[in-house]
Symmetry: C2
Subunit: 334 residues, 2 copies
DNA sequence: CTGTTAGCGCATTCAA
DNA sequence: TTGAATGCGCTAACAG
C-alpha cells in the first residue's frame, strides 16, 4: 500500500536510483525503458514509498480523473443506486466521483457548479434542480462534457432517463385492465421531465381507453412523502370517489400508502396503489407495494460509460436523448 | 456564473489589466492592493470570465479542498444521511467530497485509498471494510487527518459512532419489560464494532435481567436482507421458541419482517420485532417497524466538523472516541 | 534508450 | 503598494 502524502517526489527517486527524472517518469508511465533500468527504478520506488502526485499530473496534463455528479437528493435510493453503478465502472480506472447534493436548490447548485468547475473535473453528470441552468450546462459542455440524467433540461446535451411515458402508461393501463375506473394520480412537479412525463402518460392512457379525465382525480405534489400523504388524505376527506392511486414517485407513494392505511382502507381491494420508483421495504410492506422499477443499473452504466467516452474522445457529435424502459413489478395482484 | 475551463489565466488578466500577475493574485486572495488597482483588475476578471485554477493552487499550496469519504455501501440510508449532513457543512466552504464505495471489499478499498491519496485529499472520513487497515490509516493520519465513522478499527484515531451497546440494551430491555422472554437475536458480523457491540448489548441485557442466554436464540447474519430472511425462516422451521426478534441492522430486520409475514405470524402479537437503524417505509409498513434510530444528523455534523478542524489546525492531539446516543422509536407498542 | 529542459497556473519571497 | 522571479511535481519535446 502506497502511503505518500509525505512528499516523496520523482526527483527523490531519480536521485536515489541515479537516473534522470524523465526516466523515472517513463517507468511509472510504462514508457520505453531498458529492463535493467526499470528494475532498478522500481526498487527505489518501493523503498522510499513513492506515489505520483496527481495534482501535478493534472496541472500538466489538464486532466483530473474526477467526474462531478450533481444530484438533487442523495437520500433518494434512485440516485444512490446510480452512484453504486458508477462506482463499479470507475473503481479500477482511477476515476473518482465528487458527489454534489443540491438539495434541489438552484442557489446551492450554482455554487456547486462553480466549485466543481474550479476543481477542473473532467466531466459532469447532472440532475439539475432548475431548467434555467440549461444554457449554463450547454456552455460548460463546450469544454467539459456534460451528460444529463433523469431530468431533461436541454435537447442540446446528451441525456439518459427512464421512458417515463411508457412506464406510467404501463402502470395505469394495468389498473384499468383490472377494472379500476377512477384512478387518482398524485403527480409530481411539472417543471421536470419525470413529473411532466409521468403525468402525461397518465392522461394519455385514460384517453386511450376513452375514460374521462376528471379534475378531482388529479393532484399535484412535490415528490415528498408528506405531500403524498396530505393529498391522499385530502381526497379522502373530500369524498372523492377513487379505486386506485397512481403516484408519480416513490416517496409520494409511501405517503399515499400511509394515508390509506391510517384511514382503514384495504390495499388493493378498496384502493389499488402503484408508485413510480422502488423503495427499500416496498416489497415487504403489507401488502407489498407494486412499483414501476427504473433500471438504475442500465441508466448508471450507460451514463457512466458515455461520459467516459466523451472525456476520452472529445470529438463533436450530435447529442442523443437516450430513454431506458422501466418494468412494472406487480407485487400484489389487483 | 463563472464558466472557466477555457484556460483564462492569471497572466491573461494581468496583461489586459496592465499589472503584474502577482497583483492579480493579490486581488483574488484579498491581499494588499490599492483600491484603484483592485477595481481595475476586478473589472477585467469579470470581462474575460476568469476563475482561478484550483489545480494549480493545490500544487502550490498543498491543499485540495477535497475530503474523501470511504464507505462500504452507498445503498444503505445510514451513509446516505451522513453524506446529506456533510453536504450542508461543506457546500459554502469550497470543500467537496469524493465518495468511494468499497462494496465492503478490502481489495477495492485498497485501490480507493491509493486513488484518494494520489488525489491528495485533505482529509479522510472512513468506514473501513477491514480491521486490517488499522495500521494503514494510522500511518496515513500522520500526514492526512483521518476520522473513523461507525466502525472503530483503531483506538489511535479519532472516531465517531453510535453508542451501540446503549442502543441495543435499550431495545432489548424494552422487549423484556413487555414480558418477552425468548428473544431471538439476528446479530451482525462480529469483526466490526456495530455487529459486535450490538450483540454485546443484547447479551448484557439478558444478564442484567437474569435471563438465560440460549444458543438457539442467537443467529449471526451478514447485514443483508437475505440473511435476515433466511435466519428467521430457519428458526421458524426448527420450531425454535421465540416471541421477539432483535435484528442488529435495518436490512436484516427487513428480511426478518418478511419471513414473519410470509409465515403468517402477527407482529408484534406473535413475535415482536425491533431493528437497529431506520429504513424508508419502516414507519408506514404494516405494522410500522420499531427501530433504534441512529442520530445520523449528529454523527455527520460532528464528523464533518472534526475533520475540518484537523485539516485546518493540524496540531497533534489525543485521539478521541466519540459515541452518540441513539433513540428507540416505538412505532407499534408491544 | 536516456538526459535536459520548458512550462502547466499559481502564491509567495524578495526587491524596489 | 507593486513587480520579478522562483518553484510546487510532473510530462513531453528535443537532443544526444
Amino acid at each position: 500500500m502506497k502511503i505518500n502524502k509525505n512528499n516523496v517526489t520523482l526527483e527523490d527517486v531519480a536521485r536515489k536510483a541515479d537516473v534522470s527524472v524523465s526516466t523515472v517518469s517513463r517507468v511509472i508511465n510504462n514508457g520505453i525503458v531498458a529492463e535493467k533500468t526499470r528494475k532498478k527504478v522500481e526498487k527505489v520506488i518501493k523503498e522510499i514509498n513513492y506515489s505520483p502526485n496527481t495534482i501535478a499530473r493534472s496541472l500538466r496534463g489538464g486532466r483530473t480523473n474526477i467526474i462531478g455528479f450533481i444530484i438533487p437528493d442523495i437520500t433518494n435510493p434512485f440516485f444512490t443506486k446510480l452512484i453504486n453503478e458508477l462506482g463499479k465502472i470507475y473503481k479500477d480506472k482511477g476515476y473518482s466521483i465528487i458527489v454534489c447534493n443540491t438539495y434541489d436548490d438552484p442557489k446551492i447548485e450554482k455554487i456547486q457548479i462553480e466549485t466543481l468547475l474550479g476543481k477542473r473535473v473532467d466531466g459532469l453528470l447532472v440532475t439539475s434542480s432548475d431548467i434555467k441552468f440549461a444554457r449554463t450546462y450547454e456552455k460548460i459542455n463546450r469544454n467539459c462534457p456534460v451528460v444529463l440524467i433523469d431530468r431533461l433540461i436541454s435537447e442540446e446535451l446528451d441525456s439518459i432517463r427512464t421512458d417515463n411515458i411508457d412506464g406510467s402508461m404501463h402502470a395505469v393501463s394495468y389498473l384499468i385492465n383490472k377494472g379500476r375506473r377512477n384512478i387518482l394520480t398524485i403527480a409530481g412537479p411539472q417543471q421536470y421531465t419525470p413529473g411532466k412525463e409521468r403525468y402525461e402518460g397518465f392522461i394519455k392512457t385514460l384517453e386511450l381507453f376513452n375514460l374521462p379525465v376528471k379534475e378531482s382525480l388529479i393532484k399535484f405534489g412535490d415528490f415528498t412523502k408528506r405531500s403524498g400523504y396530505e393529498l391522499t388524505k385530502e381526497a379522502l376527506n373530500n369524498n372523492v370517489n377513487f379505486d386506485a392511486i397512481f403516484a408519480a414517485n416513490n416517496f409520494m407513494g409511501a405517503g399515499a400508502f400511509k394515508a390509506l392505511k391510517d384511514n382503514g382502507y384495504k390495499i388493493p381491494e378498496d384502493v389499488a396503489l402503484i408508485m413510480f420508483d422502488d423503495l427499500d421495504l416496498a416489497d415487504v410492506a403489507n401488502p407489498p407495494i407494486t412499483v414501476v422499477i427504473q433500471s438504475t443499473k442500465e441508466i448508471g452504466r450507460r451514463a457512466g460509460n458515455l461520459i467516459l467516452d466523451l472525456i476520452e474522445n472529445k470529438e463533436k457529435h450530435e447529442p442523443k436523448q437516450i430513454m431506458i424502459k422501466s418494468t412494472l413489478e406487480i407485487r400484489k395482484s389487483v
